[in-house]
């Protein structure tokens, strides 16, 4: 349904994307790369916000800028893009109105989608009162409200706490299982492991790997992962984490109210963090995966392809 053939994009002398080709038909696909690798540029081309310098993109055989193609795609950008003075329901209904849905149907559908996303009680509150996780759900709601076939999510996990990450992951997983194409970008491979059936790895604007996530994961096995946690009480959080077998090492940065954890069993650690997050609200304010392992995969693949790291 999404066909990207030899797509390249240059800005003056700078090549942001070069000769990227792939085809997406179903399931959850991860788009992984370091910051500045070209992920957002590619996403923008796929949703018709930017035109490729070379090559072409087809959404169900049509240009991404055609009205028919736009109806098939939902886009959740990596920036906030919400009006704080509106309620969640008002915002999603307004976006639907801009899609051409009538006022009454838009209101009904907005409430339906936000209800399904778990915002049933909060949808009539002003967005300014929402947590990061709730804001993310509203953004996801506007991307899903017109029932697109493909959903493009740009860095959707950024800034979310473990519980919100888990909920969003579940939702993305379900979307993939119900016949949608979900393209999720992230600079952290680890975030997509449990989600994506397939991963596209981009580096310096080039697609350097395209395949099942386990193949890439295999290259990470012998490397520990690093996570950075922001906490209202880092010492208390450290007390909870130190006894865990999945934590290899832990350092506290009290000036920054953060902890840095190294682990060789990341899946187990994520499970534990989700439980801690659910038990003690606010103890984990933010989670960031400083995945050194991804760098090693990049280095490996880059070296194999003879590219500059």
């Amino acid at each position: 349904m999404i066909l990207c053939s030899s797509v390249g994009k240059t800005f003056g002398q700078v090549a942001a994307l070069g000769e990227v080709s792939f085809e997406l038909d179903s399931g959850v696909v991860g788009l992984v790369g370091r910051n500045g690798a070209g992920k957002t540029t590619l996403m923008r081309i796929l949703v018709g916000l930017s035109r490729p310098s070379v090559g072409e993109v087809k959404i169900d055989g049509r240009s991404p800028t055609s009205p028919a193609a736009r109806r098939l795609v939902g886009y959740c950008p990596d920036f906030d893009s919400l009006y704080d003075e509106l309620t969640g329901a008002e915002f999603v209904a307004w976006m639907l109105r801009l899609d051409g849905v009538g006022a009454k149907a838009a209101k009904h559908r907005a409430r339906e989608v936000l209800d399904e996303l778990g915002l049933d009680e909060a949808m009539d509150r002003r967005i300014r009162t929402y947590s990061k996780g709730m804001r993310q759900r509203v953004r996801l709601g506007q991307a899903l409200a017109h029932r697109p076939k493909a959903v493009l999510l740009d860095e959707p996990m950024t800034g979310l706490d473990p519980v919100a990450r888990r909920e969003l992951s579940d939702e993305i997983h379900r979307l993939g299982q119900t016949g949608h194409i979900v393209l999720v970008s992230s600079h952290v491979l680890h975030e997509l492991e449990a989600l994506a059936d397939r991963v596209l790895l981009v580096h310096q604007g080039r697609l350097i790997a395209d395949g099942p996530v386990r193949d890439l994961r295999a290259k990470l096995e012998d490397r520990p992962h690093q996570l950075e946690l922001k906490s209202s009480n880092p010492r208390r959080l450290a007390e909870r984490l130190v006894p865990l077998a999945v934590v290899d090492s832990l350092t506290i940065d009290e000036e920054d109210d953060s902890l840095r954890i190294e682990t060789s069993a990341s899946e187990g650690l994520f499970r534990e963090l989700t439980e801690i997050g659910a038990d003690s609200e606010g103890l984990i304010e933010e989670l960031r995966v400083a995945d050194e392992g991804l760098d090693s995969v990049f280095s490996y693949l880059v070296a194999r392809r003879g590219l500059k790291a």
Binding site: R97, G100, G102
Partner: protein
């Protein structure tokens, strides 16, 4: 939470034409002051000049009387000041009495309209909805124009209808319709430009407050420049029309036929310059960003 419990299915609702989609945007722009109760009250306050004119009309026509003057009818002096068969009676509501309100409304609402969307990061989301920058701009323009038109054009129309329905003169309609229409058209053109220019500034800059400062500051600064230029170059006709507000008033007066001077071309050229300059800059800024993400 589950969004699609039984597999993918399309949203089965009839889609509306483009103008209805843009109408949703225009309504958002129009409703901006009503988000808070204070905003609604402040907006109602802008109807004061129009309502004041209406009350004055009722007084001069003798429909409202006080004490001993009951039944004595309007005084000739009052009637000469407020003649509903003359274009200037309607036009001065916009060019004189509403000025402060017009500047306040454009600085408060129009200047915020697009800058607010940019700050919220919503512009790119709108482009993915198939809304074009031109359609988006026009929708906001219509919203802002309507907001200013209600206390001005709306009141002009109301005053004319009241004057017509209370007039004993059988030839009132034939005597007054053309002057009214010309004043109405002149006022509409003035308001169209008055909302277009700050909306362009709102599209050009990234912050709503900056847009308001630039708009009001620009009006004042160019007003001062036009006064100075007018005093230096006394022999050059229309040199003072470098200031957008003066050019707007002059053009409206030319259309309404309330001025002896023949400065239609000069005022049109001045406003055309500002409209083309700011309009093209605004369109450039509204294009989806083509830059390294």
């Amino acid at each position: 939470m589950t969004v699609f419990g039984s597999g993918y299915r399309t949203l089965n609702v009839p889609l509306q034409p483009t103008w209805r989609r843009l109408q949703a945007l225009a309504v958002t722009s129009f409703k901006a002051p009503f988000a808070r109760r204070m905003g609604l009250l402040a907006y109602l306050f802008t109807f004061l000049p129009g309502l004041g004119n209406l009350i004055f009309l009722l007084l001069t026509s003798g429909l409202i009387t006080f004490g001993d003057s009951a039944g004595s009818g309007p005084s000739p002096a009052a009637q000469s000041i407020y003649d509903p068969t003359e274009a200037r009676t309607y036009l001065r509501l916009v060019t004189d009495q509403f000025v402060q309100f017009a500047f306040a409304l454009t600085a408060w609402i129009t200047c915020r309209a697009i800058a607010r969307d940019r700050v919220a990061g919503a512009l790119e989301l709108l482009w993915t909805r198939g809304i074009t920058p031109v359609g988006y701009f026009v929708a906001h323009w219509v919203g802002s124009f309507t907001l200013l038109a209600l206390p001005t054009l709306g009141c002009q129309l109301l005053i004319y209808i009241v004057a017509y329905s209370t007039s004993a003169d059988e030839e009132f309609l034939s005597n007054s319709f053309e002057p009214f229409l010309r004043a109405f058209a002149g006022s509409a053109v003035l308001l169209a430009v008055l909302t277009f220019l700050p909306l362009c500034i709102s599209a050009i800059v990234s912050r709503a407050q900056l847009a308001s400062i630039l708009w009001i500051g620009g009006l004042l600064l160019l007003g001062a420049v036009s006064v100075i230029a007018g005093s230096i170059f006394r022999d050059v006709p229309g040199v003072g029309l470098i200031a957008p507000w003066r050019a707007m008033v002059e053009l409206a007066s030319q259309i309404a036929g309330t001025t002896e001077d023949d400065l239609l071309v000069e005022s049109s050229l001045s406003l055309g310059f500002w409209v083309v300059l700011l309009g093209s800059l605004a369109m450039r800024r509204l294009r989806p960003t083509e830059a390294l993400a």
